[in-house]
Amino acid sequence: MASARDTSPLTGDAARTPVADGGGAQPLPPSGQPAVGRRTNARRPRGTGMGSRLELAILIGPALIVFLAFVIFPVVIAAYYGFFSWSGFGPAVDFVGLRNYIVILTDPAFHEALGHNIFIAVMSLVLQGPIALGLALLLNRKLRYQSIIRVLIFVPYVISEVVVGVGWSLMLQTNGALNGLLNRLGLGALASDWLSDPAVAIWTLMVIITWKYIGFAVILFLAGLQGIPDELSEAAAIDGASYWQVQRHIVLPLLGPTIRIWAFLSIIGALQLFDLVWIIWGQYVASTAGTSTMATYMVANGRNAGSLGYGSAVAVVMFLISLVVALLYQRFLLRRDTAGAVTGGKR
């Protein structure tokens, strides 16, 4: 099998064991089915291959065309500017080759930002995952006020990042609401420079990120949980498994693909993090407070410094880093899937 295509999660999941992941099928009698099933699978609807080609074109065509035109194409042009020194006005004429890239890769400020991004990515998974899972499991059962609670958890995600930034800045400023409240309650000793103290700031950022995006994780997990038939849990419960045992050994493994997709989106999102940091910390304090990200570095040294060519180069570097992470992730995903992740999920 050509290896290039194997790096996509598709060839792992969909083609081989479509039912095993994501759940949703009854245990069917084995024996004999596999080969026959596959062949039946491959039988195309009656009609010529033309029908199939046309189907494909109709299905993927519109999305692909819109995407190529409005995303890929501008991105490629933007990346091209990375080879220039360009103030943004007029055509880009000062070709500098790889100089921008060399400067970026040797700049300690960029290394710092990258380090922060990695920290944020890891901590996002660690903090949001368990909490969101717990909440999703909780909200999946018949609960009073189930709907309302779901809405309330989702509210932070609905608020635009700009407003979140404004609100949190007001609250976390050294002379802001949180310190004011602590003082009022007599807990003034706990009041700190939540935003500007390098030891504290990154944790403040993690709290804010968790607060904002946990709703996203919960809703994704909830949707994934819908694909796990109750019959399985009921069967296990009849056999005497407790609630938590059922969750651990049946539900979680079947939720695997959803969790992995969420983790992927979370990591990529963490690598691209910009709005929250920019609005709450501003570009300058971001570096002194230890919360700079690659994206804030990009805007601070790019657009805001009138060096759009440099900014484009940073964007390309960010893209390449994200791409490497994505490829590694999908390779890892693939290995897990082929090892039969459904069986116990303990591997």
Binding site: R44, V166, L170, I261, S322
Partner: protein, 291 residues
């Protein structure tokens, strides 16, 4: 087809005492309540902040409104500009959502259930769209939209929004669609249903949780989208809600209290949309393959 051949279920444990279980439940509820309280505190801050004046917020940041400045909210609610922006935002968000779901679902279906050369490549292209910061691509994008004559119109905002929302939509939908068992597809084709018919009649209802989820995400992304409309829309009559906050921020100062009031009101439609649709994140494959 060997599906789930071994699921390890540990030997049955002794039944827990009923009292223990109940107190465990209460603990869970309590924890959930505390969590939710913490989540909503900042939101409450934003909403209450809209009832105060700028001086109040500066002098006593953590205080309750002493004088309730209803006019901050009232002024927004009676302003025709606000409602016009609500209308524009709604049009943009609904159009974006419908089209993203449609295009994304079709593409995800093809990517997850057809096999063809280049499938991995196309999936990778869509994924790649997530990885490039859009603030950099905005200049060429603006030129493109302008050359198509779509600046200053909602269409010019909707189409790029659809494009940007496609990666996450497809990434989420593919595993959901892949999970629909092939037995269903076979059964459908045995009954004379074409693959597209299968798509229309069975896939969509069965993947509802995923579809609703991506629909909600697309709506919210469009509702809160700031940068794209900022660059593409210059006539005030086309402004969407996020751009409306500009009216409260002049060159040298920001009317914080009014901004808080304005944005508190802006989040309501998105929340309404969410609460209408989240109930529908149920069902899916449960019972679909029974008997």
């Amino acid at each position: 087809m060997a599906v789930i051949d071994t699921i390890e279920i540990p030997p049955p444990r002794e039944h827990e005492a009923p009292g223990q279980r109940r107190s465990g439940q209460v603990l869970i509820y309590l924890v959930a309540l505390v969590l939710i309280g913490l989540m909503l505190a900042p939101v409450a801050y934003i909403i209450l902040g809209g009832f105060r004046s700028n001086a109040d917020i500066t002098v006593d940041p953590s205080g309750f409104p002493s004088v309730w400045h209803w006019e901050n909210y009232a002024d927004v609610l009676v302003s025709p500009v606000f409602w016009q922006q609500v209308g524009n935002s709604t049009i943009a968000a609904v159009a974006t959502t419908v089209l993203v779901v449609a295009l994304g679902l079709m593409a995800a279906f093809a990517l997850s259930r057809y096999s063809f050369r280049g499938r991995g490549l196309i999936y990778a292209i869509f994924t790649a769209g997530l990885m490039f910061p859009m603030t950099v691509a905005i200049t060429p994008l603006y030129i493109l939209v302008r050359n198509l004559g779509l600046t200053n119109s909602l269409v010019g905002v909707i189409i790029p929004q659809i494009a940007f929302a496609l990666p996450i939509t497809i990434i989420i939908l593919v595993p959901f669609l892949a999970a629909i068992p092939h037995e269903l597809q076979e059964a459908a084709s045995i009954d004379g249903c074409s693959r597209l018919g299968f798509f229309w009649r069975m896939v969509i209802p069965l993947s509802m949780p995923g579809v609703i989820t991506v629909g909600i995400l697309a709506f919210i992304a469009s509702w809160n989208s700031y940068m794209l409309p900022l660059f593409l829309l210059s006539t005030e009559s086309t402004f969407t809600l996020p751009l409306g906050t500009q009216a409260f921020a002049s060159q040298y100062s920001v009317d914080t209290a009014r901004v808080l009031a304005f944005t508190s009101l802006s989040m309501i439609p998105a929340l309404v949309f969410f609460s209408l649709f989240e109930r529908r994140i149920v069902g899916g494959l449960t019972g679909a393959v029974k008997g």
